[in-house]
């Protein structure tokens, strides 16, 4: 097995969300956490708590958007355009008179949705590929891993850009593009876990008994994969949200009049000098969301796999 740093599947997680632990830590199996201890350990990690609270807050905002939002996010009122933050409009109004607070609130929905869907696509696809690759080995493994290597040959946002250019700029394509671009991390990660698990005695034993492959994968291998995947996925949602906002900022994601944070920033750019609020609040929202997810991911990692802990 190549000992390149990337073989450990942590490179993308490191690069994308840069909550790196010492490299190269091996994605070995943490002992499946005892149920009782998990929650209490989570609670002890300040970082995880903050992250979780933030996420819960954002999820609530997203779910209750129609209720808590003071105005229709897409309702234009040209005569109320470009008003500074006030009691009537806590975040001010944009160039079309739309209430910025409402737009930021509704933007939460889109960003969380895009983040979770993109990562879901990546997790499902990546885990499947990793499982197959790691379990069956030999030429299947080599083929799939080469394929993953090719995907990794495109740095960061480039693959997503290329995909969006082919598919066309809109929100669903954005989710697909970001999701597909994130597959390699999970594939590598899962494969690594599977490879380690495969060596374990109990897997050998199961095979000897004659258990079906799928059963073995499901019962013995998968549980060990879950923990690292959850960690990477949480951090991955943060990255996905950032990427989606970036692509929308470039004009390659959501289309008007959708209230999406990245796009709001791009439109607010023209008004930066005098009407700073149009671009500032969406930016804060992005940062808060990404920060929350990152903290949560850090906390999860500390809890689930102490060996990967960033020393605090």
């Amino acid at each position: 097995m190549r000992f390149s740093i990337r073989a450990f599947g942590l490179d993308n997680a490191v690069a994308q969300v840069s909550t790196a632990s010492t490299a190269p830590a091996s994605p070995t199996i943490a002992a499946p956490p005892r149920r009782g201890g998990f929650i209490s350990r989570m609670r002890k990690s300040k970082v995880a708590v903050i992250g979780f609270v933030t996420l819960a807050f954002l999820a609530t905002v997203a779910l209750t958007a129609p209720i808590i939002s003071p105005a229709d996010p897409n309702e234009v009122a040209p005569r109320e355009a470009l008003q500074a933050p006030s009691t009537a409009h806590p975040f001010g109004t944009d160039q079309y008179g739309r209430d910025v607070l409402s737009r930021v609130i509704y933007g939460t929905r889109i960003s969380l949705l895009v983040g979770f869907i993109a990562v879901s696509i990546a997790v499902v696809t990546g885990t499947t590929l990793g499982l197959i690759s790691g379990y069956y080995g030999r030429w299947i493994d080599i083929t799939i891993m080469r394929f993953i290597d090719v995907m990794l040959a495109f740095p960061g946002i480039l693959l997503a850009l290329a995909l969006v250019s082919i598919l066309g700029p809109n929100l669903p394509n954005l989710m697909i593009a970001v999701g597909v671009s994130s597959v390699p991390s999970y594939a590598r990660l899962v494969r690594g876990s599977v490879l380690s698990a495969r060596e374990q005695v109990y897997v050998e034993a199961a095979r000897v008994i004659g258990a079906r492959d799928i059963t073995i994968m499901r019962r013995h291998v998968l549980p060990n994969v879950v923990a690292p995947v959850i960690v990477v996925a949480t951090l991955g949602v943060a990255a996905a949200i950032l990427w989606a906002a970036s692509l929308s900022f470039l004009g390659l994601g959501s289309q008007p009049p959708t209230a999406e944070w990245g796009r709001m920033l791009s439109e607010g750019r023209n008004y930066l000098r005098e009407q700073w609020w149009i671009a500032t609040f969406p930016g804060l929202a992005i940062m808060m969301t990404v920060l929350g997810m990152n903290l949560l991911g850090d906390g999860l990692r500390d809890t689930l796999d102490p060996r990967q802990r960033v020393r605090t």
Binding site: P78, G251, Q255, P256, P257, N270
Partner: protein
């Protein structure tokens, strides 16, 4: 998909160009003539009778008079926002002979400070001027460009047969004298004998012939120039310096066109030698020549030391004072304004409404605003694509748009509500108006079968979709797009904004693929409507409404040939009424062309088409 019908015999069908790039096309044999007759500078502007007008209108008209000389036709069609014609209106309307003196007072239509920048102490040669343009020209080749931005640059680089000054006078330029035949089909030009191009080639009657023949050559993708030569049958060089240009029919606007940038004279030798790259470095005969072109960044012109004549806009003889003019492409409005404030540029085009007050109030700049001539910012409505193929749907669109809101916000200080297909300063009449009546719009839609008061309307299971096609020059979709979208959504349309770069935007329009291209057209003459609405120009010129209406066609042709000013005005009024009735388009805002320049810029002049000419500009410390 529609199959295009080439009904006009003058425009033989061609094999399609392999690369649909309207920008760079030299004498490339692969180039297919799509009849992209855009952006013609039709400056055939009759004198407006100044009767019975309010003082304000009169001042505007007077200002217009100064800036709309009858002359060459530079029809500049712009697709939304910053396209073509960024609008250059200097405020030198009320000063007489603005073409012969440095632009002194700059009384903008909006009522600006009248600071005299010109006529200072003896200007010294040297210096460099940096100008911020709002978009990049697709090509510098005047014959090939559909975009007005090109002529911001080439007005000081390429010369035409005649010159249109701000008084709407036709002055001699490359032609010393001219006359037209009685029937208006032939024009004879006596040319100057002392003109050479930047590459040393002499300018003769053969050059004129070669230039015009090039434009109509089916293998050449002409821009607005082609419409300027509609009906062209040929040029004859009766002697070395006499050119006789002939047309099929009486063609009154031609002299104006001959003074326009689209019919500027270029060196044929250079065209042949440079092929495709000619568009990035044209070779002509003007006081400046092109030094370099950096894509997406800037184009630089430098002083032509060999220039030994007197340019028609000034009284000085010889090469210009400035050493160099650099045109930077800064589509992002906020940045563009910032550059003139920091001094990175000394002159910029198009100030957005949110920055305008700050610039106007400052003593460091002069802001010139000139009402646009031609067609206002307008939403063309595709008459061949459902659902806008239904006249009632189109009428509903026009009624649904709150133009006053546009003028109050996005166009604050930058324009006025449009009343018809031509701007008010060009053709004003109390009978013209564009009302705002969303309720009536809803009624019309209901009656047309589009039901569903809540949300998107439907008919036979189809949704009422409207694709708004706008140009994103690199700084995002134009701000008015979302307001229009909101208006349309309000009455039940599913309005989607398609914002794209200029080239694909043209593609969509030539193929009548969207419901509503957003654009404007700059034209010095009523005849601009011809290129917008005549059926022979579907798919090639600015007929983005894909309108095929024999009545309108007939009237447009008539208007072209009518020489009596009053009769002409009546014809075009009738055209306006008809167009409004069938709602072939929804005019939005009569815009101002806005330029801001710093105090150290002196001697700035604008030609009759409101393009800046830099021959007499000096930079003062």
């Amino acid at each position: 998909m529609r199959h295009r019908d080439w009904s006009d015999d003058d425009t033989p069908e061609e094999t399609r160009r392999t690369h649909p790039n309207p920008k760079m096309s030299g004498t490339n044999s692969r180039a297919v003539r799509r009849g992209r007759v855009q952006d013609m500078d039709i400056d055939t502007f009759e004198r407006l009778p100044g009767l019975g007008l309010s003082r304000r209108s009169f001042m505007r008209l007077a200002g217009l008079a100064a800036t709309l000389p009858i002359a060459s036709s530079l029809l500049a069609a712009c697709g939304s926002d910053d396209e073509e014609d960024g609008g250059s209106g200097t405020g030198s309307q009320t000063t007489a002979a603005a073409g012969t003196e440095p632009a002194g007072s700059t009384e903008a239509a909006g009522g600006d400070e009248t600071e005299g920048t010109g006529g200072a102490e003896d200007p010294q040669p040297g210096g460099e001027l940096v100008v911020g343009l709002d978009s990049e020209p697709p090509t510098l080749d005047p014959h090939a460009s559909p975009s007005a931005v090109t002529f911001m640059v080439t007005s000081s680089v390429a010369e035409s047969l005649l010159y249109l000054d701000t008084e709407r006078e036709l002055l001699p330029w490359l032609a010393e004298s001219w006359e037209s035949s009685d029937d208006g089909t032939t024009y004879t030009f006596s040319l100057r004998q002392d003109v050479t191009f930047h590459d040393g080639e002499p300018f003769t009657a053969e050059t004129v012939k070669g230039n015009f023949d090039r434009i109509v050559d089916p293998n050449f993708t002409a821009g607005g120039a082609l419409a300027a030569l509609a009906g062209y049958t040929g040029t004859e060089a009766t002697d070395e310096y006499t050119a006789v240009v002939s047309f099929e029919n009486a063609y009154a606007p031609f002299l104006n066109y001959a003074a326009g940038g689209t019919l500027g004279m270029v060196s044929l030798k250079a065209v042949e030698e440079m092929g495709d790259t000619f568009g990035t470095q044209i070779v002509a005969s003007g006081p400046f020549k092109v030094e370099s072109y950096t894509a997406k960044d800037n184009v630089t012109i430098i002083r032509n030391e060999e220039y030994n004549r007197t340019a028609p806009w000034g009284t000085r003889e010889g090469p210009p004072l400035l050493e160099k003019v650099t045109f930077k492409f800064i589509p992002e409005a906020g940045s563009r304004v910032t550059t003139v404030e920091t001094g990175e540029t000394q002159m910029v085009q198009s100030i957005p409404s949110q920055d305008l007050p700050r610039i106007e109030e400052s003593d460091n700049y002069t802001v010139s605003k000139t009402p646009w001539v031609g067609v206002p910012r307008i939403l063309m409505l595709n008459t061949q694509l459902a659902p806008t193929d239904d006249v009632n749907v189109r009428r509903a669109v026009s009624l649904a748009i709150d133009r006053q809101a546009l003028v109050d916000t996005v166009f604050a200080g930058l324009g006025e509500v449009a009343i018809g297909m031509l701007t008010k300063v060009m053709l004003d009449d109390p009978s013209l108006s564009m009302p705002y009546d969303p309720d009536q719009a809803r009624t019309l839609l209901e009656e047309a079968g589009w039901t569903g008061d809540d949300g998107v309307r439907e008919k036979d299971g189809e949704q009422l979709t409207f694709i708004l096609n706008v140009v994103d020059p690199g700084s995002g979709a134009p701000p008015e797009a979302q307001l229009i979208q909101a208006n349309l959504i309000d009455v039940g349309f599913d309005c989607q904004i398609k914002a794209q770069a200029r080239a694909p935007w043209y593609e969509d329009n030539y193929n009548c693929l969207t419901h509503g291209p957003l654009m404007f057209l700059r034209s010095g003459d009523y005849d601009g409507l011809y290129s917008m609405f005549h059926s022979s120009l579907i798919g090639k010129n600015f007929n983005f409404a894909c309108l095929n209406d024999p009545d309108i066609d007939g009237l447009l042709e008539q208007g072209r040939q009518e020489t009596d000013a009053n009769a002409r005005r009546e014809i075009y009024l009738e055209i306006e009424q008809k167009l409004a009735d069938i709602a072939a388009a929804a005019p939005l805002v009569d815009e101002y062309a806005v330029w801001a320049y710093r105090n150290e810029v002196s001697g700035l002049a604008f030609n009759g088409f409101t393009y800046p000419v830099f021959g007499d500009v000096a930079m003062q410390s």
